[in-house]
């Protein structure tokens, strides 16, 4: 079993200072639903861990609020907080839907959105909707704070671009226009084998003439780092949506998957799965049979 000391900073600032002091031998813990499993499994990633820095009690990072035309979410908000938030149900319902599929009630009560991002798993459920929303994150370190695109936080599977002394404190995005439709769909469950996991978040806006004026397609589990798929979005942008175009957009997503990750043993399963999942999500959002 790994042995470590437990540190309990009184503020975000103090947490960053502890991170700066202890460098790679320290790690922050929020809900612990990822970290506790990895430590128990003696994941080699944490072999030199000497300090666990608890940020779970820092209430200053637990809020969901409107700020003009943006929504701001404190990084310590749990998945349950997100599912229950009236603000998010109104302005980003597919994000609530995605969060409601995380694990179990217990996991949703403990797990935080900051932890989902910090863990950088390609199979995260709440991350694809945030990518579709072009969300930004506020990151605080000993030398101050910066706000960057969420997308840029992911370096690789399970690796972030955060500096050693940095903590994610807030996630924010622009409210979707009221006429926007969003859908999150997920295949498979965690308890079934990992290979069956796949998800997608989509947003579409159709103008008064029936043309698609905005479309975002953010699939999960198929890239090392989450991203929108521009070549699939371009299939629909400016068009009147038809069944054929939705099928075509689904094909573009799998094309992009193969472009980025190459042909793998799982491709045979993943290709048709992500195609039909994307097409299904788009047809629900656009109400095209």
């Amino acid at each position: 079993m790994f042995k470590y000391d437990y540190l309990r900073p009184a503020s975000v600032k103090e947490a960053c200072e502890l991170l700066a002091l202890h460098g790679d031998s320290a790690k922050v813990i929020a809900g612990g639903t990822d970290l506790m499993v990895q430590i128990r499994d003696e994941d080699k990633k944490w072999a030199n861990i000497k300090y666990i820095i608890d940020i779970g009690h820092l209430k200053e990072m637990k809020y969901i609020k409107e700020d003009g035309d943006s929504i701001c979410i404190g990084a310590l908000s749990s998945h349950t907080d997100i599912v229950k938030s009236k603000i998010l149900q109104k302005y980003a319902p597919f994000f609530c839907e995605a969060s409601s599929t995380v694990g179990s009630p217990q996991i949703r009560n403990m797990g935080t959105i900051g932890g989902s991002i910090g863990n950088a798993s390609p199979a995260s459920d709440p991350v694809p909707p945030l990518i579709a929303l072009d969300a930004e994150v506020k990151v605080v370190g000993t030398s101050g704070e910066r706000t960057v695109l969420l997308k840029s936080i992911f370096a690789n599977s399970y690796k972030t671009t955060l500096k050693v002394d940095e903590i994610i404190t807030e996630i924010s995005f622009k409210k979707m226009p009221t006429e926007a439709k969003s859908v999150f769909l997920k295949l498979g469950r965690r308890k079934a084998l990992a290979i069956s996991r796949m998800n997608v978040g989509v947003i579409v806006v159709v103008d008064s003439m029936g043309f698609v004026s905005d479309v975002r397609i953010a699939p999960g589990c198929i890239f090392a780092v989450p991203d929108r798929v521009k070549i699939a979005e371009d299939v629909l942008l400016g068009k009147v949506p038809t069944r054929e175009l939705l099928v075509e957009a689904g094909k573009k997503v799998s094309e992009e998957m193969i472009n980025r990750t190459g042909i793998r043993p799982s491709t045979e399963f993943k290709k048709p799965a992500i195609e039909s999942l994307t097409t299904r999500a788009l047809s629900q959002a656009l109400e095209v049979e």
Binding site: M1, F2, K3, Y4, D5, Y6, R8, I29, G31, G32, T33, M36, V37, I39, R40, D41, I52, D54, G56, H57, T80, G103, S104, P105, Q106, I107, N109, M110, K191
Partner: protein, 166 residues
């Protein structure tokens, strides 16, 4: 490794205790406080046998560091019965509906159900199923468990109010 002093309320009593930095809440409850009703199944958040209630929410005590429980209010299965050994309404209904066989999953299931009924007045069967979806049972097949919780829900509000008054 430095031990950590933690002050928490467990089943209504103030507990002040030194814990190892890597001790889980589950370990502290079972090994130090001798509250062995809370069980360890998988140890990785999948089975729910270790479910307890912290500040009103059901959580897996196998994934929580005991050191992080400073100031928290914790309920375990041992805290449910009355002072004179009366069973909680959920425990009664579990027995009435034969909602257990080996019983290993039962404390966790009862705690998930309690956290849920504490804030839900008239739950549907689907809502009950979701509320216990983080608790695995290898024996019963779940339908008796859902029956028991559904039945408890009918009298829960009145039961809870009377209990608090006492």
């Amino acid at each position: 490794m430095n031990k950590i002093n933690v002050n928490m309320i467990v089943n209504g009593e103030v507990v002040s205790i030194l814990v190892e930095p890597n001790a889980r809440l589950l370990d502290t409850l079972r090994d130090n406080l001798e509250l062995t009703g809370t069980k360890e199944g998988c140890g990785v958040g999948e089975c729910g046998a270790c479910t307890v209630i912290v500040d009103g929410e059901a959580v897996n005590s196998c994934m929580i560091l005991a050191a992080s429980m400073e100031g928290k209010v914790i309920e375990t299965i041992e805290g449910l019965g009355g002072d004179n050994g009366e069973l909680h309404i959920l425990q009664e209904k579990f027995i009435e509906h034969s909602a257990l066989q080996c019983g290993f999953c039962t404390p966790g299931l009862v705690m998930s159900a309690k956290a849920f009924l504490d804030v839900n007045d008239k739950p549907t069967r689907e809502e009950i199923k979701t509320a216990i979806s983080g608790n695995l049972c290898r024996c019963t097949g779940y339908s008796q468990i859902v029956d028991a919780i559904e039945d408890a829900a009918k009298d829960y509000y009145v039961y809870d109010v009377c209990r608090v008054k006492k």
